[in-house]
Point group: C2
Chain length 292, copies 2
């Protein structure tokens, strides 16, 4: 098995190349392309597309076939960040230490760049080298995961939950939709492209559910204990915004226990798949320990 | 042949029923569904989905099979209206005589309702009763027509053209992308679902190109000569916004001649298809004469 660091090094570059090829190919107004590229190029961990490819690698499939689907997923994630940062939403001026899209390009172009990335992601999948049946399954899952029943619904619930004391169940339900569904899509898409069985897809979804919650808990912990330079935003920003978080609701110790619990559950799903020796296992560990 | 009025009466209701069934089925936050439904229910001519079905009818196909694709297209159109009306874009308070989405639900929910409708449209097509090959062709065309190379790109060019004196070619290029591409998608989708040949699809696209331009010229003429009550917005609003229009660039007489020219060209494409007796012919006439 290739070590996770090497896999990330190799495929992060390939994903970024795929995104940049897709943008170069497009016949769209320059200003729009510039705004789209600005956010696509803003870096980040590329955890979602890497999960797509790591899943294919767990099934010993050729990751190249998943490249367009992986890039499409990163486009969806990027659009969601652009729209979330808008003044009428989270009103963020900085993202990963750089000015947000609407700060650089203005609100109108930021909204349209988001719309364009969202739309283009479906075009990218439909142009990929998969069977029509696979493409339709993937498109259907992507639309469900990112639409009103998934990510967009989660963002609505998140906004409505601001300045309210949420229960831990409510908080979890928001995270499951806002970030969890797209992580689940990543492993589902990887599984579909690897011709996984329904039972295997189920275990993959469970794995993603647990690493998704772990990811969010780690995020909340970093907001209290992290280094501003590493996390790219001010420490304590959740608290200053009155956001419900795991440490705030459970206390720091229990939040950390919950993080451990979800990582263990994620690994149990991998056992069921006999994927203990896979990159997905290393990714679970990476999420538990990440510092940015 | 069923008269156009009867066809519209019958299928407008069916399209609206399809949209409402799709919304009822969705497991999303109530506020989000309310905002989506508000704009979907706001009426309008439903010209795009009707074109999908009228094309199938011209091929003597069962329109029922096209209902989900037709509804998906109306979702895309509706999302584009919601986002276009936003304060950072056209900043419109009224649409079809009713307060715009962001006036009623606030900007954040309006942006998210648009995102949700855009995403859901792809889900709706992928759930339709078509072959996977047909679905992928339709999804690919829809994403291209409505994305950065199509409608979204046209909206960017439109915003950038404000308060500038455009040439007639520039004006045309904006309209072709901003409204033309989605009308072309309508007949293409109808054609694909009717198993049209490549030559037939080409003529259908030409037809849609010309009725699209005719539609826009008629819009500009109505903005000068129309009745406020019928068009649902103040007469002269283009002029007061300093927008380039056909009557402003060409004079009213030449604008009317150009309208006639495009209707004739549209009908020529129908001749090539031997569709002179079809609803598409009546739709061309309707566009030339519409008063709202």
């Amino acid at each position: 098995m290739i070590p996770l660091e090497d896999f990330i090094d190799k495929y992060k570059k390939k994903i970024e190349l795929e995104l940049s090829k897709e943008m170069d190919r497009q016949d769209a107004p320059d200003s729009l392309k510039k705004a789209m590229k600005y956010s696509l190029d803003a870096g980040g961990k590329r955890i979602r597309p890497l999960l797509v490819l790591a899943t294919m690698s767990a099934f010993e499939k050729d990751c190249e076939r998943g490249m367009k689907t992986a890039a499409a997923l990163e486009m969806i994630h990027t659009y969601s960040l652009i729209h979330d940062d808008l003044p009428s939403m989270d009103d963020d001026d900085l993202r990963r230490g750089k000015p947000t899209n609407h700060i650089v390009f203005g609100e109108a172009l930021a909204i349209l760049a988001g719309d364009a990335l969202l739309t283009q992601s479906f075009s990218l999948i439909s142009s990929s080298d998969l069977s029509s049946d696979q493409k339709i399954r993937i498109i259907s899952e992507l639309a469900k995961s990112s639409g009103p029943e998934g990510m967009v619904g989660g963002q609505v619930a998140d906004i409505e939950g601001e300045n309210k004391q949420l229960s831990i169940d409510q908080l979890e339900s928001i995270h499951l939709r806002k970030t969890g569904r797209l992580l689940q899509f990543a492993v589902l898409a990887g599984g579909i492209m690897s011709e996984a069985t329904a039972a295997q897809l189920h275990h993959l979804e469970q794995y993603a559910l647990h690493i998704g919650l772990a990811f969010q808990i780690r995020d909340d912990i970093l907001d209290v204990e992290g280094e501003e330079e590493e996390i790219g935003k001010p420490v304590g920003s959740d608290q200053s915004r009155n956001k419900s978080t795991y440490p705030a609701l459970l206390g720091m110790d229990k939040a950390k226990q919950k993080l451990e619990f979800h990582i263990l559950e994620a690994k149990k799903s991998l056992s069921a798949l006999q994927f203990e020796q896979s990159l997905l296992h290393s990714i679970a560990d990476m999420i538990a320990k990440r510092s940015s």
